[in-house]
Symmetry: D2
Subunit: 129 residues, 4 copies
Amino acid sequence: MPKINRYVDISTVDREAKKDYIDRHSPFIHCTNKAVKGTKLPVTVKVGNEFMHPDDPDHFIESVKLYNGDSILGEARFLSGTLGGGGSKSQAEVTFHVVPTTEKLVLTAVAYCTKHGLWESDPVEIPVT
Amino acid sequence: MPKINRYVDISTVDREAKKDYIDRHSPFIHCTNKAVKGTKLPVTVKVGNEFMHPDDPDHFIESVKLYNGDSILGEARFLSGTLGGGGSKSQAEVTFHVVPTTEKLVLTAVAYCTKHGLWESDPVEIPVT
Amino acid sequence: MPKINRYVDISTVDREAKKDYIDRHSPFIHCTNKAVKGTKLPVTVKVGNEFMHPDDPDHFIESVKLYNGDSILGEARFLSGTLGGGGSKSQAEVTFHVVPTTEKLVLTAVAYCTKHGLWESDPVEIPVT
Amino acid sequence: MPKINRYVDISTVDREAKKDYIDRHSPFIHCTNKAVKGTKLPVTVKVGNEFMHPDDPDHFIESVKLYNGDSILGEARFLSGTLGGGGSKSQAEVTFHVVPTTEKLVLTAVAYCTKHGLWESDPVEIPVT
């Protein structure tokens, strides 16, 4: 069964190589801290915060999924070469837009690296008024 | 974070409604019990074994993913209406083809229901000679 | 074969219902008019400009693809209900990020409506320096 | 705008390299020549008929879509390496299952090669009784 790697606060990690490995694979959710019912809310998912991931043909971030609880809100798929291609590094990034209809959102993002599998963000809870 | 429901042997489940709920959402992997290196292997994933799932616009099996260990082998996405549409029931099904290059495959499938989230199959181990 | 509907300048269209039909299905590309080699460029695709599309279970904008020439740069898939759900209208929207490596980009977007098929944007040419 | 390459009967093509190029990129639809309303119909899409396509990290068949008229029936996405990987050749293949509800199906398949873009099959018309 596929392992789901979860983000670990890298300030608690000693080795630089491990910090880099965890950070560059982890999706981070960026959005406002509250939302309005019926109003479009942009939610950006960026893979990597302080570190960057290669964009090689055999090693790249291939997809990002955004969930609200157990429900998929959206999915983006990428092809290698769109972030500079072989030899370069970058952070895969996509902005979804959702219109909330419930009291709160509990967002999580999952990224897939073609060499290092599935990575899940910390959940982000957003009250909706 | 999205919950991943895992298949439970329904012969151990008492309530008929619960058997049906578990079975109709679970992906089952169908393939030969051994494979040959370099030779195409068909792997069928069928959602539901003894029970069937609705194909309603707001409630249907939307995708099936096939993994080997932590690696995605393939993904299929479906649209509601292709299995008979509103009011009918069926079993979503897709056959992938993979050419193994390693000593064994450890296959798992994950299905997504638009109302009841992610469901993972039991893993299937296939020796490759 | 799937027909690909292409955007028509709606100021040349007489009937209001037809203006609405064309506009609400057409993807529009929003980005800066020049890009820098090796620097991340956000490219937003929004479906509809002056009009909005329903987000009903059996009728919604299901995906947006972004191409550079004949190459896919990225694809986003949506589920019904994420833009307010049944009875509400909105504009599906996604922002991709690409790092250009060539002299220019020739971007096109294609959206898919579950009832009215494929719709292609006008191409947008962006010089890269 | 993305060009859609269409299959050309390769017996009418002189150059062997061109026959190979056209054939190995073209999706071919394999299914029975009639269907029954409400009964699941397997539809196989195989990319290439007499020739095979590489499965290299930077050059592989990345997806196959199946349409009925203007409607998507299903989509499969593949990752490089699942058909033997670098240096080997094969034919990407997927079997979808649809339950027809109308008088006929008019199926077309579209494949995407990461180097050579979109390729469309001849349409296949299937009466449904």
